[in-house]
């Protein structure tokens, strides 16, 4: 397994509201990325707390994997608990009022990557010739793009591209999208916040990740590029290549 990550506050922000977490647990490696929203440091709190809660719950619940509880259900559960926690926090403290966070949570179970998503942080699966976006952004703009009503360029310049329709911690209940991706040996996964995906084109990502440099340098380079282009937002990248599990290896 190769993992590289990089984050930068950007040139115009005083606080990095992006958070990420990488667990290289041999059995169930998982990755989380979150982009918080909220005044002062509330966004930072939201993204950090969400990640803390998710990893904590997940560690507790992961022993039930394979005991009849579907992974989808587990992911939903984990998100729900983290959501409740962040939401309550926002109610208790006036400073945290209205805070929330995007979350992408990806976990490898056997040779499948399960992905839970809320908001517009993204998970791409990159290969030399294409970039497949596994997650779907929760925004009107993404929805219209998907339906073919607007072009990619229009989406890029849409004034509402930063308005997301779902986030963790903003309401009592949360709807989570869960995706399943069968891992192939050449797959390179890139998780990033919108500070990256708004600035760096997928072909530029591919160009960088297939250079002959370390995975950490690749992640740095992408964040650097995002900053160079605009730098108005926090930018975070988590890049990883997963090991395929040979049948019977874990049993």
């Amino acid at each position: 397994m190769e993992i590289g990550f990089s984050t930068d506050i950007g040139c115009h922000r005083t606080i990095n509201q992006d958070s990420y977490f990488v667990s290289d647990d041999k059995k169930y490696p998982y990755f989380i990325i979150a982009d918080g929203m909220g005044g002062k440091n509330a966004g930072e709190i939201a993204s950090q707390e969400a990640i803390n809660q998710i990893s904590q719950y997940f560690n507790e619940i992961s022993k039930n994997i394979g005991n009849g509880l579907s992974v989808e259900k587990i992911i939903e559960d984990v998100f729900n608990k983290a959501n409740k926690f962040v939401y309550n926090l926002s109610l208790e403290n006036i400073e945290y009022e209205g805070m929330g966070t995007t979350v992408v949570f990806a976990i490898q179970i056997d040779n499948i990557l399960y992905v839970g998503n809320v908001g517009d942080s993204r998970l791409y699966c990159l290969s030399k010739d294409r970039a497949k976006q596994i997650t779907k952004d929760h925004s009107i703009v993404a929805g219209l793009l998907e339906k073919g009503e607007i072009s990619k360029e229009e989406a890029q310049n849409h004034p509402q591209k930063n308005i997301i329709t779902r986030a963790l911690g903003v309401s009592e209940k949360i709807k989570v999208d869960v995706f399943k991706h069968e891992i192939k040996c050449e797959d390179l996964f890139l998780m990033c916040t919108d500070g990256v995906s708004n600035k760096v084109r997928t072909d530029e990502m591919i160009e960088i990740v297939f250079q002959n440099i370390s995975i950490k340098e690749k992640a740095d380079k992408i964040v650097e590029l995002a900053n160079r282009k605009d730098g108005t937002d926090n930018a975070t990248v988590v890049l990883y290549k997963l090991d395929l599990i040979q049948k019977g290896e874990n049993k």
Partner: protein, 702 residues
Amino acid sequence: MIGQILGNRYEILEKIGSGGMADVYKAHCRFLDRFVAVKVLKKDFTQDEAFIEKFKKESLAVAKLSHHTIVNIYDVGEDEDIYYIIMELIEGKTLKKCIKEKKFFLENEVIDISLQIAEALKHAHANNIVHRDIKPQNIMINDEGKIKVADFGIARTASQNTVQCEKEMMGSVHYSSPEQAKGRLTDEKSDLYSLGIVMYEMATGILPFEGESPITVAYKQIKEAVNFPEKLDNNISNGLRNVILKAVQKDQSLRYQSAIEIISDLNKLKYNSDFKTEFKDLNESPTMIIPKVNIVEKEDDTDETMFQTQKIVIGKENNINFNEDAFEYAFESEVEDMKKIKKKSKKSNSRVLSAILSVIAILLALAVVLFFSIRYFNDNLKVKEIEVPNVIEMEYNKAEELLLEKGIQMVIDAEIYDVDNEKGIILDQNPKEGMHIKSGSVRVVLSKGAEMVFIPNLSGSTTNEARVTLEELGLKLGEVERVYSDKEIGEVVNQAPESGVEVVKGTKIDILISKGKEKKYYKMPNIIGLSRSRAEADIISAGFIVGEISEDYSQNIAIGLVSEQGFRAQTEVTEGSEVDFVISKGPKPITDGNQNDINQSNANSGNGDSENSNDMEINSQNNQEGEQTQLIERELLLRLPEGEGIVLVSVKKVIGDSEEVVYEKKHNKEEQGIRVIVKDSGTVKYKIYFDNQYGNDYEVVF
């Protein structure tokens, strides 16, 4: 936030609303003792410099709007990292709530409210402000049905992520235009689209596009045509439906192009429920209005009517007068009906054609028969001509009646404001009275009455600003009077008539301008000859402030007493002025000349050092201390009566019952205080007379 005071002025009382970008509070303005609404930018955005810039800039632009249908912005400010806008606090509820409660509105209500919203848009658009979020949640309505549009043009998009719950998002998506949904350029026409949706909702009680998620609704805004439900309880006319449909065209160029256009159509609808709006053709060829007349009568080539009737004419009942293409475009789902109408129109066209042909045939036959007949026969054979009656200065309804009696349709060409004629009076007609027409219609210009405007609140603006504000609204600046006020110098203190009153355009508004705080004038007391402490007390009690106190030699005033004062006594001096005064150091020592004088001065100053004058009015000087047998010189300090002119001062020594004049001299009252030297021994009583009037007396111990 509650209890916090912003800008040292606005005390936050309670939260009254919340949106994606800001929270709204009710607050109390301490300066003007009034309640206001404060919109506070959410903390999420206070770090986004670009957004803050935009927010401030746009708020200031919107603050310049002043219209009775727009929520006024009073102030824009920041207090530490709190960015806020102070707005007019509106009593009433949102139009959204009103629609929910009422279910739907009657046609005239829809027209009336729509007109007001359109007026707000017209004013904003004229000032280059596009609202971009017209929705009934942003429109306040009071019990009288008067509306105010809030939330004009404030920055709505940040460069950072913002989350809007789906419900909140839906609120806007339901009303947003296709171009907004697509993220393309928005302009005035986008607001008109949203207005169209609001009108639809008022007319039907439902929204044209519903969906599970904002994405579905946005998709429908882009893709699906607006349809009216089959059954409506409130009998919304086709005329109004068409206005709504024209407003919600997907293609911006097919919509109303300006608020003025939709206002004009709504006004026409108000007068005439049969009014049909003109739909635009994609090819931009304007559709002509076809008069509702019997066309069989028409056929002469030498026609003098001004109307072209080359477009389709559908039978009397189906007097639909727009171009087919536009028609089809507007009613995607009504294609079925359309086909029926088309068939009908074809049928009637052919009927018309055969009618015309037969008339021509008859005429030709007659012409042959009567070819050699006398000319006057011709007149009888001509198609009946109609003489156009005068309708100018008539009331709309009567004019229409009169014209219809003669088979002439009346068409409103324009409606203009006219101070001299009441609303609905016809100002002009075409063709004019006495002209003969075969058929057709008379186009008229209607008076809208005097154009009324609401007087803006000028309070706080400068004369110049007031003039600009008034002129922009078509009002004039009347008399400007300057008055005392607590307001800053140059600011408008009051106006007449007051703000909010609706007046005819061109009305003059008088204003009162502050010339600063009113100043009071007090009489300056005479402090010459008083001791320092007494002088200070007098200055303060007269309403002034003690100024600088200095010392100087004085020939007349005894040492330690006031010898000069900064303002002349008895003059009117502004309250609170600082009054400087000089304390006498006694006469100036003379370095050369009379030896006696030197001695005397020395003695004086030596004595003065003890600095006590028991009586304020009398300064005693022991010239030759210790020599009791000798006559001793004392100085009487007399204060002259106040005023101007000459006064005769007499000092009389009282000896038993008689009096002996020891001093008598004329003095100018302006001298204020004089010094009289008396020489005696023992205790002597003196009486002082001014102009032979007894003033007071002194007992002097020598």
